[in-house]
């Protein structure tokens, strides 16, 4: 399982890449995509949606089930990855390239985990 060092992670298995001091992009981790299985549909948030940390922001569907995606930090959605609408499988094949949405006016990012802490967290989840 990959956990790139330059990213931050949430306990609900989203990753965060900080683009600037006020902007970040969010996706699902390698652990999440593996647990979900083959993804077949992504329901992206609308532009200007207010993301509240730890609350549902959008959802993804695997063959088996629908799963909520939680906002790992607060902010406002200013861009969504429309490429995923026709190619949700990119989340499986390239989880850290397949960002879901981008936020600006970000806050509440202090308690996100670094790569080592997240890898250790996944280890406990798996057992």
């Amino acid at each position: 399982m990959k956990t790139p060092n330059e990213l931050k992670y949430s306990k609900t298995h989203e990753w965060v890449r900080f683009i600037s001091e006020t902007e970040a992009e969010v996706g699902l981790t390698d652990y999440a995509q593996d647990a979900l299985g083959d993804l077949v549909f992504v329901n992206l948030p609308e532009i200007d949606t207010t993301a509240a940390k730890e609350e549902t922001i959008c959802d993804v569907e695997s063959v088996k089930a629908v799963s909520d995606v939680y906002a790992p930090l607060s902010g406002t959605v200013y861009e969504v990855n429309e490429e995923l609408l026709d190619a949700p499988e990119l989340i499986n094949t390239d989880p850290y390239g397949a960002w879901l949405f981008r936020l600006n006016e970000i806050s509440d990012a202090d308690d996100l985990m670094d790569a080592d802490a997240y890898a250790a967290f996944c280890e406990t989840e798996a057992h």
Binding site: G37, D38, V40, F41, N43, E61, S62, V63, K64, A65, V66, L85, N92
Partner: protein, 351 residues
């Protein structure tokens, strides 16, 4: 209490994702993934552990009469070596289970039932036995392996003769082990089901997997395959509140004979099973309300993304037999998505 099938260790060795299904530990998928497992069955061959299925036998002078009374179908003219589908109903026409009947002799029948209904079925069958019949639950004496897909005959044919007709079976041997092989399955594809002694199952399983054209498949693809082929599943398209005619299983219901539930089935036919292709964005799952122009017409019973057809499909139980092309809306977690009524089955293999 959750049971392990005789192939449990094989699933673990193949890194299957194990879940508790109908009281059995079974793999929902292997690392291959549901979509590739599904496509393997449509294009090559997939191997399934279906040892959780229940098996019972009816033997004796009145075995046939018992089956004809307890089940909706008529087995009188079922030839030895052939298989026939049927439902078992309550007096009120609701469904106890659906099953398939193998005729092994004039007075010897082997019946395969759903794992989740096994104990309920056995109780129901026992309670309605009459005349000279020996009934036995032999579920624990059989493992069952399904090899499904266009190449399944060529692959299994390396080891044994094969039953040549759909819904026929033979007694034979694989690797020197006694087996019963039928040309049956639950994928909508050409394929075979192998019944063997539990202790012989790992040997046969491993041997078939030596052929690199064979992909081990889990419960996830078993469900997407049966839904894509529009085969009803107990607990979804059938249950104790749904009559077999409402499910659209007319071919398995013979009204010209006496059987439990007949009068009730004849008297009620208020609902119909239809197919829906989702044309909007999203996936309709089970228990979603279905509307036409804001009028609630029923609910979905199963739904998912169908990998071979590359789209979202659902089956629904609704108030009328709507024509294909009829526009509908399905409520998916508070959001209405568009769909249209589509003829069943969604997928039918070319013969």
């Amino acid at each position: 209490m959750t049971f392990k099938t005789p192939l449990y260790e094989e699933h673990v060795a193949l890194d299957g994702r194990i879940v508790d299904f109908a009281g059995y530990f079974l793999p929902v998928q292997y690392p291959t993934g549901v979509i590739k497992e599904h496509m393997a069955v449509r294009e090559k061959a997939g191997l399934f552990d279906v040892s959780h299925m229940g098996e019972v036998t009816f033997k004796g002078k009145d075995a046939l009469a018992n089956l004809n009374y307890i089940l909706t179908n008529d087995y009188t003219n079922l030839k030895i070596g052939r298989v026939r589908y049927g439902e078992m109903c309550y007096e009120d026409g609701g469904c106890v289970d659906d099953l398939i009947v193998y005729r092994r002799g004039e007075e010897d029948f082997f019946v395969v039932v759903n794992a989740s209904n096994r104990f309920k079925d056995v109780e129901w069958m026992k309670a309605h036995l009459k005349g000279e019949v020996e009934f036995e639950d032999v579920s624990d004496s059989y493992a069952e392996i399904a090899l499904q897909g266009p190449l399944s005959g060529e692959i299994l044919g390396k080891y044994t003769e094969l039953p040549q007709k759909y819904y026929s079976f033979i007694d034979t041997e694989i690797l020197g082990r006694k087996v019963m092989v039928s040309q049956t399955g639950y994928t909508g594809e050409y394929g075979f089901e192998i019944y063997c002694a539990p202790e012989d199952a790992p040997l046969i399983w491993r041997e078939l997997l030596k052929d690199e054209r064979v992909t081990p498949c889990g419960l996830g693809s078993r469900d997407t395959l049966r839904l894509e082929a529009s085969m009803p599943l107990y607990g979804h398209e059938m249950d104790e509140t749904i009559s077999p005619l409402e499910t659209g299983l007319d071919f398995g219901v013979k009204m010209n004979k006496d059987f439990i539930g007949r009068d009730a089935i004849a008297a009620r036919h208020n609902r119909h099973r239809i197919g829906i292709r989702i044309t909007g964005r999203g996936i309709a799952r089970e228990h979603s309300d279905v509307f036409i122009n804001d009028q609630l017409i029923g609910h979905t019973t199963s739904g998912t993304h169908c990998p071979y057809l590359k789209g979202a499909y659902a089956m629904a139980l609704v108030n009328e037999a709507y024509e294909p092309g009829t526009k509908v809306e399905v409520d998916v977690r508070g959001r209405r998505i568009e769909g249209e009524v589509t003829a069943l089955p969604f997928y039918k293999r070319e013969r």
